[in-house]
Symmetry: C2
Subunit: 150 residues, 2 copies
Amino acid sequence: MISSDTTLSPGQLLARGTARHLLTYDYNCIEEFTPERGLRVDIMALGPKGQLWVVECKSSRADFQSDQKWQGYLPFCDRFFWAVDSDFPTELLPDDTGLIIADSYGAEIIRMGPDTPLPAARRKKLLQKFARTSAQRLQALRDPMAFTLP
Amino acid sequence: MISSDTTLSPGQLLARGTARHLLTYDYNCIEEFTPERGLRVDIMALGPKGQLWVVECKSSRADFQSDQKWQGYLPFCDRFFWAVDSDFPTELLPDDTGLIIADSYGAEIIRMGPDTPLPAARRKKLLQKFARTSAQRLQALRDPMAFTLP
């Protein structure tokens, strides 16, 4: 169980605060989700009507500037957000992306960014992968033995 | 975390063994899932192609005979199974349902039962609920504080 702050990286702490806040919008988050081979997003959030949001958590300017992949995530979500802490130089972030200011314990949505609905086939595939990934991780936490058997 | 046998009821132990076995078919299970208000199935399993199976776990003849609801689950799955232990009088179970013999640690599928594909709209709705339920339970285990905040 991830419950101690000390085991989490700065990016993971931003993810935790963001996930807590998105719960208040009735969005359920999973972290480090792979929408497609070679792509891994920090947060994939699933809304009450099946909306899929991607959030990338950036703990520093360097962390953001070394990210070469984020535009590749846009086709895999209805909305895209950055989550950064209050010290982050937000002028670096593109205007047409969503913005969340987060800390370890909570967050706030500052800017929504455009709504670019997923094509139905991709949405279905992502939803299925989200469901299977979540259920598998849940089983791994509840019954670790299930994954060590022959 | 549910890891100690002593905290689980006989039905939950059958569910655990069944979920372990279904993993070998690449089915991811969640337990005590509510497909619709007023209905709660012991296991909902999601397969690699989006198949949805319901498994009802019965620990005794009395447990089976007191179940008035199981036929109500059939419209919410592609396949329906019973999971029972090896002492259960399986002749009580309808021939046209699936059968799994389970114990606390594993299981075996004895009979598949008919394949009755879900209508697309219901499948989508169930998949979405499965995804949100799994992600929410996962977050509750990883970050219990998320659910105690105002």
